[in-house]
Point group: C2
Chain length 291, copies 2
């Protein structure tokens, strides 16, 4: 596996391969790789000839009170995982190479970014949109893979790539979960043993909402009540949001007539967890079968 | 010459050529082509194998009180000029293809955009930065050429391409002028015969500033006074700005020690004209000769 720090070397490598007709796949990460990343890398491995994983803890997507300094950086482990999964190139740009003096351009996707994680973490999505645009410029992939756990991020990137005509196919890979349903995340290492045992409540509350939808309820209040009732059983959990919204625009739904995105963010002490489920209303499934 | 409306067809054409090792040059325009554009196209023709000119009057870079509706659109003439100059492909996307429903992403280059034209025309440079990013995504050029007349625009695009790692070489071509020095512009057709005779005053005032610098003056007040004195000889001309600034950052200079960008915008009735000159202080020239 090649390890590359220089953006210029990265771009030259990719352009040379693409000129030869080789398809380049890309999994951008902030490192601290877990089985969720592994699943992304394996899915990418099946869909391209040459596979790039980037490891870059992007400072511009962290807020001033967030965990940039303590974000885990187990680089040797990360490289080992990449090597074991057949990654061809591990791209590890420095902060100085990414944001040299005079850097000032930003990319914004305002409608998708304004709610939920965007409301809770101002500047987060501007940081994400800008760094992904830059990474795509450096890596020049044919396809790029993102995890469904960060649903709003994936929706934003899909919009961005389409709006700016980047010509990168975006693939969203299903969330990988621990045995009790907790979505895998590099931030799970911050959980104390006590917090870890109750962290799966977020997933259970999303499941409770999904169950109500699958039984035919279209009423948003009833769906959100089912999720709230489940999460309130754990008083240590503080809800940021726990909502049913449109899977494309991420706007709140007034009723569930086709597909719904159940989206949640909670805090457990100082640890923030997010998760989501996409659920189809039973009528949709019937009409799809008939149509 | 091929005429293409579809962004997808445009991208496919360019990618196929680039895979074959053909270099693609690009001159983005809003049409109403004049001898300034012709010079850009000829310069481009010398530096690439395949040459694309786009014609797109971009609504998002016009302010609500500006001349979008009446902006000249002599398409047949424009195509004739392109054909005569050996353009390979004329790309004419529709507004709907450029900004489909749901479009929302914007690109900003805040430090370069905040002064001068950016202050006079809010949203103008956001519109320019976004449409150029999109056009580069659609056309995938190796090189792109811009006219020096829109100096701030060219500086912004250079910054943008660098910041977002687009890998397009940006070439700025010297301003082409009428016999009396008036910079060629598609908007010159708005000038009445009386306005036309005095329009070259802007260029003369920039020359007056340049003359003072070449004589060794480093004092900004003296340079700006020379420009102001010249322009005030024409009372029909209203000055928006007429300044000496840094050619890279476009920040105002406190004294001219190396190169200065003399930058001006004036109004003649409802017509707005811009122009600029880049001038080297005599000391710079000597030190360059010795270094």
């Amino acid at each position: 596996m090649k390890i590359v720090h220089s953006p210029q070397v990265m771009t030259a490598w990719s352009l040379r391969l693409r000129r030869e007709g080789v398809t380049v796949g890309f999994v951008p990460t902030m490192g601290a790789l877990h089985d969720g990343h592994r699943a992304l890398i394996r899915a990418a491995r099946l869909q391209c000839d040459a596979l790039v994983v980037s490891i870059f803890v992007n400072p511009t997507q962290f807020g001033p009170t967030e965990d940039l300094a303590k974000y885990p950086r187990p680089l040797a482990n990360d490289r080992r995982l990449c090597r074991a999964e057949g990654v061809d190139l591990c791209f590890e740009p420095s902060v100085a190479a990414m944001y040299p003096e005079g850097f000032q351009t930003t990319v914004a996707v305002p409608a998708i970014a304004r709610r939920w994680e965007g409301a809770a973490r101002p500047q987060h999505f501007a940081g994400v949109a800008t760094v992904v645009t830059k990474l795509f410029g450096m890596v020049r992939p044919d396809i790029a893979l993102f995890g469904q756990k960060d649903y709003q991020q994936a929706a934003l990137i899909r919009r961005l790539v389409n709006d700016l005509n980047m010509g990168v196919a975006i693939i969203v890979h299903p969330t990988v979960r621990e045995k009790d349903g907790l979505a895998m995340s590099s931030r799970n290492v911050y959980l104390s043993p006590e917090q870890r045992t109750i962290a799966a409540t977020l997933y259970k509350s999303l499941q409770a909402g999904a169950e109500v939808i699958r039984k035919g309820t279209t009423d948003i209040q009833a769906i959100q009540l089912a999720m709230a009732t489940m999460i309130e059983q754990e008083p240590a959990v503080t809800v940021d949001y726990l909502v049913a919204c449109d899977p494309l625009t991420l706007d709140p739904l007034s009723s569930v007539t086709s597909r719904a995105l159940l989206l949640g963010a909670v805090r457990l002490g100082s640890v923030r967890l997010i998760d989501n489920l996409v659920v189809a209303a039973p009528r949709t499934r019937i009409s799809q079968r008939c149509g």
